[in-house]
C-alpha cells in the first residue's frame, strides 16, 4: 500500500548518493526492512523498475534484508522474537514488552560502477 511513497523516498536517497559519488551506474540497492513495517518487497521492486527507467539506476537489483520483530520483556529483561498472535514473554510469561527491532526502514548501501 505505502510502497509507492517508500520507494520514491528510497530512490531519491539512492540517486543523490550515487551522484555525490560521481557513479555512472547503480547496480544494486541494499535495503533493511523491519518485519513490522509490512513493506512488500515485490511492490518495491515493481515501482522501482518504473522509476529507474532512463536513470543511472536502470536495471538495478534490490536486495531486502528483513529484520525480525524483537521485543524485550519488562519483567525479566530477556529478549525474544515476536510471533504473530503471541506477544507474551516465552521466558517468564510476562506480558508487558517493549518492541526493540522490526520497525527498520533504511538504505544500507548501494553498489555502483
Amino acid at each position: 500500500m505505502h510502497e509507492l511513497a517508500i520507494t520514491q523516498s528510497m530512490f531519491e536517497i539512492v540517486l543523490q548518493q550515487a551522484e555525490q559519488a560521481h557513479a555512472k551506474k547503480v547496480t544494486k540497492i541494499n535495503l533493511v526492512i523491519g518485519a513490522m513495517t509490512g513493506v512488500v518487497s515485490d511492490s518495491v521492486q515493481f515501482y522501482l523498475d518504473f522509476m529507474t527507467k532512463d536513470t543511472i539506476a536502470e536495471n538495478a537489483s534490490v536486495s531486502f534484508k528483513t529484520v525480525p520483530a524483537q521485543a524485550r520483556c519488562r519483567n525479566c529483561n530477556q529478549t525474544f522474537n515476536l510471533e504473530e498472535f503471541n506477544w507474551t514473554c516465552p521466558h517468564c510469561q510476562g506480558n508487558i514488552i517493549d518492541v526493540i527491532a522490526g520497525k527498520e526502514l533504511f538504505v544500507e548501501s548501494i553498489e555502483v560502477e
Partner: protein, 224 residues
C-alpha cells in the same frame, strides 16, 4: 564499488514533520493525528471532541479522509476552521501535505488541531506529521483481534479510543481481552471506551485530551 549509506528511507518526511512541529509549537498549537480503519468513527470522534471542548478550546481540523462529510457539517456550524487535503487516492497523509494545510489555517486562532488521517491501519503509522499525540480509533464491529493484525499501529499510538461501545450487546467482542492485548503491545497507551452515538465516555476522553495539551491556552475570543 559499494557505498555505505545507512539512511532512513522516511528521513525526508521526518524532516518536514519536524518543521511542522516547530511551526505548531511557535503558535502554541497542540496537534493530534487521528488514525483508524475506514468507518471506525474518526469523523464522529472529531465532531464529538469539538462539541465537548469547543467552549474552552479553539479547535482547527485537517481532513485527510476522502470519504468524509466533516466539511459540510463544520461549514454548517461555521465556527471551526477546516482544511481538506486531497490525498489523490493515497493511503496515508504525509508531512508535506500537512505543511500545505497549515499554510491555509488561521494558526493564531487555534489551540488544538485535529488531523483526521486516511482510513488505513498499515501506512499512517510510519508517516509522522509533526503531531504531539497519535490516537487510534478502533471500533467494536471490527472485532477484538485487530491489535495482533496491526501491531505496528497499536504499538505506535499514545491513546486508543474504542468506539461504538453501544454495539457491545449485539457483537461478540471481549473488552477485557482487547484491553489486555493492547496493554501488552503498548504499555503506555491510554485506553478510552466511547460511543459517538450515545455520547458515553466522550467527556472522559475529551478531559484527558485537554489535560494533555498541558499549557496555558491562548485567550479565547468570545463574541459578546
Amino acid at each position: 564499488m559499494e557505498i555505505k549509506i545507512l539512511k532512513n528511507i522516511l528521513g525526508a518526511n521526518d524532516r518536514i514533520a519536524a518543521k511542522n512541529r516547530e511551526l505548531l509549537d511557535a503558535h502554541k498549537i497542540f496537534a493530534v493525528n487521528i488514525m483508524a480503519s475506514p468507518g471506525a468513527g474518526k469523523t464522529s470522534v472529531v465532531l464529538q471532541t469539538i462539541r465537548a471542548l469547543q467552549d474552552g478550546v479553539r479547535i482547527g481540523v485537517i481532513e485527510g479522509d476522502i470519504s468524509s462529510s466533516i466539511d459540510a457539517e463544520l461549514v454548517a456550524k461555521q465556527d471551526v476552521p477546516v482544511v481538506q487535503i486531497n490525498t489523490g487516492g493515497e493511503c496515508h497523509l504525509e508531512a508535506v501535505q500537512v505543511q500545505d494545510a497549515l499554510n491555509n489555517l488561521p494558526l493564531a486562532e487555534i489551540d488544538l488541531l485535529l488531523i483526521e488521517n486516511v482510513g488505513n491501519l498499515v501506512c499512517p503509522a510510519e508517516f509522522t506529521l509533526g503531531e504531539h499525540l497519535k490516537v487510534l480509533i478502533a471500533s467494536v464491529p471490527e472485532g477484538d483481534d485487530k491489535p495482533f493484525k496491526y501491531p505496528l499501529m497499536f504499538n505506535t499510538v499514545d491513546a486508543l479510543v474504542l468506539n461504538k461501545i453501544d454495539l457491545l450487546p449485539y457483537v461478540k467482542f471481549n473488552v477485557d481481552g482487547f484491553t489486555k492485548t493492547v496493554k501488552n503491545i503498548n504499555a503506555k497507551a491510554e485506553i478510552f471506551k466511547v460511543s459517538c452515538t450515545t455520547g458515553e465516555g466522550i467527556t472522559t476522553w475529551a478531559k484527558w485530551l485537554n489535560s494533555r495539551m498541558g499549557k496555558p491556552l491562548k485567550k479565547r475570543i468570545t463574541s459578546t
